[in-house]
């Protein structure tokens, strides 16, 4: 017998969106996210204020970095979430292009929406996109330049890339200065690409031009009282050990005595124990001792007697990095001095930055290590400057690994778009429509750049397209003048890896979202009423 009630498969509160509705909701979500970050694109892109709610309510962040913005907003829409994740991966992978990748994916979906309105099946669109991606990649590879054979030219390339990346950030005014700084820092790494050897310290006050690169390592700590403030040829022992007392860590352990003199003896014994420990440490033939934990007055004094600079309570990241750059290891026991690897550096001294005194380790054996000190007017500016510098460093490190470069300023996008268009014209079948859509989406990137700078995007982009069709493959947007210009002369260069990653991630993500035709939201887990006082 057939029941008249509709058959219910899902649980009571679960939701299901099907076909058109599902697609619509993913398009809307993805496009909204794309639009959110679109205005930050390009050298004249704008910044956003992020106001935190919830736990750290009232905290303000100002940023131009796509990944940071997207990470901060909480999205509910599944498609939007995919874009956010994608930009995060881009950030981890290559560090820059986080906005571009989101905008490109959103534009692709915007085009897809139009095609679907024309009753073209998603699978056909996807087939077209795949071909388009291959063509774009091939043309990008063809256009890429590899200068790694010529060190001088390569250095110039690196500077150009740094300048291009920084020009869209808060550091744009001082980009020359910071580009040099970032390149110098990355060149010091000698190809290892280990960014953890570059330390960034932020200090309020001064202006951005007061920022500098120090070829040593800076630690925000002070040596103990009456200990040497300056040590040459330092032999450094880095430790993580309690320097108050070696406690017995059994709960409830206590001593029972029947006389005060015995307590005094015990106290003395404890002191002797500490003295032994200090002697053991000093026996490592060191003159600098850095501990992760506190050093109490008594051991501090013993160190002072031995002429050892003892630094207490160094933070965790600090000592790990210090161990890395000085070539030492972090130890917790001191019984075998011969087995311990000490850190070395030429000079340990105090330096003053702004109002604070820091400890500088100069001439460290890991010649790659360096510290960038950023100064700025407000905390927000400092944070943003750090993010921008981080982006530049990431891109540079990626370029050192994969040395090919391409031209920026919308040049590569237009190149790819034109290549796809040419191929589309030769392709029979409905894929051609999808390929054209792909090229349109690519052209949206230079359009957004021009729009953000307040120029007439329609005019500029059509000029750009005409130039590329004529065979001028280095033409791009010159946003200083608001005209179309040669990117080679202007030195607007981007890393090939970043561009490739943008193209591939965006098309993959868009494809994934397009394939969706059903969204099922699981029923929320039941919770008991919250009776806690708030």
């Amino acid at each position: 017998m057939v029941s008249l009630n509709p058959v219910r498969i899902l649980r009571n509160e679960a939701e299901e969106e099907r076909a058109e509705t599902a697609r619509l909701s993913s398009f809307v979500g993805a496009i909204a996210v794309g639009d959110l970050v679109k205005s930050t694109l390009g050298p004249k892109g704008m910044d956003k204020i992020l106001v935190a709610h919830g736990r750290s309510a009232g905290q303000v962040e100002i940023t131009n970095d796509g990944a940071t913005i997207l990470k901060a907003i909480g999205v509910d829409n599944p498609a939007a979430k995919i874009l956010v994740d994608m930009s995060r991966v881009q950030d981890d992978e290559v560090g820059d292009g986080t906005t571009s990748v989101t905008v490109l994916a959103a534009e692709l979906l915007r085009e897809a929406e139009k095609l679907i309105e024309q009753k073209i099946h998603p699978q056909i669109i996807i087939a077209g996109w795949r071909r388009a991606t291959q063509i774009a990649l091939a043309s990008l590879e063809k256009a890429s330049v590899d200068n790694s054979g010529d060190p001088e030219k390569f250095h110039e390339d690196l500077l150009n890339i740094a300048r291009t990346t920084l020009s869209s950030k808060i550091l744009s005014q001082n980009k020359e200065y910071f580009a040099n700084l970032a390149v110098e820092a990355v060149v010091r790494l000698k190809g290892s690409g280990d960014l953890s050897a570059i330390q960034v310290i932020k200090k309020l006050g001064g202006c951005m031009e007061d920022s500098f690169l120090d070829d040593g390592f800076l630690l925000d700590k002070k040596p103990g009282l009456h200990q040497p403030k300056r040590i040459e040829k330092a032999r450094i022992l880095i430790a993580n050990t309690p320097m108050d007392t070696d406690k017995i860590k059994v709960f409830g352990s206590r001593v029972r005595v029947d006389a005060v003199s015995k307590i005094a003896e015990l106290e003395l014994a404890e002191k002797e124990k500490m003295k032994d420990k200090v002697n053991k440490i000093v026996n490592h033939n060191i003159n600098v001792f850095i501990n992760r934990q506190l050093i109490y007055n008594y051991p501090e004094q013993l160190f002072a007697d031995a002429g050892v600079m003892a630094i207490e309570h160094a933070d965790f990241a600090g000592i790990e990095r210090l161990a890395l750059v000085t070539g030492g290891e972090i130890v917790s026991t001191f019984d075998h001095p011969e087995m311990v690897k000490l850190g070395h550096c030429d000079l340990v001294e105090e330096v003053m930055i702004g109002e604070d005194t820091l400890l500088r380790f100069g001439g460290v054996p890991l010649g790659e290590a360096c510290t960038v000190v950023i100064r700025g007017a407000t905390q927000q500016i400092l944070d943003e400057a750090e993010r921008s510098l981080h982006d530049a460093l990431c891109v540079l490190a990626a370029t050192v690994r994969e040395t090919r470069t391409v031209y920026g300023g919308g040049c590569s996008e237009m190149l790819m778009a034109n290549a796809i268009n040419d191929e589309a014209a030769r392709t029979p079948g409905k894929e051609a429509v999808a390929m054209e859509a792909f090229s349109r989406a690519l052209r949206q990137l230079p359009t957004a750049i021009a729009d953000n700078a307040g120029y007439d995007s329609a005019q500029l982009v059509s000029e750009l397209r005409a130039a590329h069709s004529k065979g001028d493959h280095t033409t791009g947007l010159d946003m200083e003048q608001g005209v179309v210009g040669c990117m080679k002369d202007l030195g607007i260069t981007e890393s090939f890896v970043v561009k490739r990653q943008v193209l591939l991630s965006a098309s993959e993500a868009a494809e994934m979202i397009l394939r969706v035709d059903n969204i099922i939201k699981a029923a929320p887990r039941r919770r008991g009423p919250d009776n806690r006082p708030c």
Binding site: I49, L50, I73, D76, G206, V255, I381
Partner: protein, 535 residues
């Protein structure tokens, strides 16, 4: 949650080249309004005739101050852009220490100028770039105006300190506080090689009672703690001072311990041993010849027990307890002695000597312990600030800090410029001239920037109750005729050569104010959206 109400519109607009930018515009104008509001709030406290603000905090505490950084810190603003201005003033406080009000007023005025430029349809990035050019040019002009000084030119230093103090509550004491600030800084610096001053070498101690007049510079140490004990020595000549970090109280292990007392005799023994233990320590102290004992505060146990105090009294040792751990470094630097962390190290060579340690009364019933005539004293100095009530005292301390910072600026960058609105007027004039040599948007923005800087003389005149328009135009006129040092003489209520009035300020204060204000305004201009986040 996707917060983007504009997303629907953008899709509609996509077809044409024209784009509606209503949301970014709204955000920008809201930011500018907030910034201007903050600047307006503290504008009236600028200058020698500036007014003070009374701030009542949530828990009922009242602060009266004229210091921009302090007002803003207490104001508890909500708007993100307004918060940036608060940070700006804090940053000026760190960098220069003075000019915290000016920097916000300049930023407010620049924002107002930017608003007008935006209304004319100039793109924010273009304005932002032009402002940076203007700032660089201004710094150049200021540097050209400035006059080099040497640190032995005491008179100039005192003048600049009193300029800073003149705008504070304590202005009537400026003739006393200014030389004091100069002496304090000069005492801790070596003019030949130092190009920075660590203000931590100058200890400012506040004591209620007396008046600001009684503020003094003590070449030595001052403790607000009374000597401990029932009948301690009040005055010790030829003092041998020991700075100890161990405790004079019954022993204690780091582990928990129990003393088990099984009978009456055992109890007696416990007491006796405790006595013997402390006596042993005291004997050691006596053997070393110590007669003044400074004891670090301990949270784990009594730093000094009553019994120990009793013994120490007997051997006529002055005991000052509860010296904070942070202060130990200062004290040991001043006395040029080592802090002693264990009894074994308590020997004669680890003691410091001073000519006199004395408990003196400072206005009213309050007493402090002064240590003077220290041998081999380190490069440190103590300032004892007094005031009749808590509010005045706090303000006096802040003002003194500003004055110290002004002198520190001069140590860092040894150049002076005239005060009284003269530099701002000059920069404004020269910048406007420079703008005429340019073409395009830059010229227009530089012009606006130049006009915006006139807010400083304008506010000075307004606050002094002068006719602001008449004064500023006269000032402009005099500068146009080449009188670089013409400024507003608040005392006479007229425009005069300000150098004759001895109103001078360090170059660093002005340049840093312009640089920081411009940097902040540029970053505010670049914002086009406020996004709420969940974290």
């Amino acid at each position: 949650m996707v917060v983007n109400p504009a997303s629907g519109d953008t899709r509609k607009m996509q077809s044409g080249a024209f784009k509606d930018k209503s949301k970014p515009k709204d955000i920008r104008s809201s930011n500018i309004t907030a910034g201007k509001a903050v600047a307006d709030a503290i504008r009236t406290s600028l200058g020698p005739r500036g007014m003070d603000k009374m701030i009542q905090s949530a828990n009922g505490d009242v602060t009266i101050t004229n210091d921009g950084a302090t007002i803003l810190k207490q104001m508890n603003v909500m708007h993100p852009a307004a918060k940036m201005l608060v940070e700006l003033s804090r940053s000026q406080d760190i960098e220069a220490g003075d000019g915290t009000t000016s920097v916000v007023v300049i930023a407010g005025s620049l924002l107002e100028a930017a608003e007008k430029l935006l209304a004319r349809g100039i793109h924010p990035s273009a304005i932002s770039d032009a402002f940076q050019i203007a700032a660089n040019k201004s710094v150049e002009i200021l540097t050209k105006m400035s006059r080099r000084i040497e640190l032995n030119d005491r008179e100039s230093l005192v003048q600049s300190a009193s300029t800073s103090l003149n705008s504070k509550v304590v202005s009537q004491h400026s003739s006393q506080l200014a030389p004091l600030a100069v002496d304090a800084i000069l005492k801790v610096t070596d003019p030949a090689k130092d190009d920075n001053v660590d203000l931590k070498d100058i200890k400012v101690i506040c004591q209620l009672g007396g008046t600001v007049d009684d503020t003094e510079l003590v070449d030595g140490l001052v403790f607000t703690q009374r000597p401990a004990g029932a009948n301690p020595p009040r005055k010790v000549e030829k003092a041998k001072i020991g700075l100890i970090q161990f405790c004079i109280s019954p022993p204690k292990t780091d582990m928990d311990h129990n003393v088990i007392v099984s009978d009456y005799a055992a109890m007696d023994r416990v007491l006796k041993e405790e006595r013997a233990y402390i006596l042993n320590i005291v004997k050691q102290i006596k053997k070393a010849g110590c007669n003044v004992l400074l004891i670090q505060k301990s949270i784990l146990r009594d730093a000094v027990s009553d019994l120990a105090l009793h013994f120490l009294d007997k051997i006529k040792v002055m005991v000052i307890k509860d010296v904070e751990r942070e202060d130990i470094e200062f004290v040991s630097k001043t006395l040029n002695c080592r802090p002693i962390a264990s009894l074994d190290h308590f020997t004669a060579e680890n003691l410091a000597s001073a000519d006199l340690v004395e408990e003196v009364s400072t206005g009213g019933t309050n007493k402090v312990v002064k240590v003077t005539g220290i041998q081999n004293q380190g490069k440190t100095v103590t300032v004892l600030v007094q005031g009749s009530n808590k509010l005045v005292l706090a303000e006096a301390e802040r003002s003194l800090h500003d004055a110290l910072c002004v002198i520190r600026c001069l140590v860092r960058n040894r150049a002076l410029i005239a005060g009284g609105g003269a530099p701002e007027t000059e920069v404004s004039l020269r910048l406007a001239q420079y703008a005429q040599t340019l073409t395009g948007v830059d010229s227009y923005c530089l012009r606006a920037y130049a006009d915006a800087l006139e807010v400083i003389p304008l506010t000075l005149a307004e606050n002094a109750g002068l006719n602001s328009i008449a004064t500023v135009t006269e000032l402009r006129n005099r500068h146009a005729q080449g009188e670089q040092t013409a400024g507003i003489n608040v005392r006479k209520g007229a425009v005069t050569n300000i150098l004759e009035e001895e109103v001078v300020q360090p170059l660093l204060v002005s340049t840093s104010a312009i640089n920081l204000a411009t940097e902040t305004v540029r970053s505010i201009l670049k914002i086009d959206d406020i996004v709420n986040t969940m974290q």
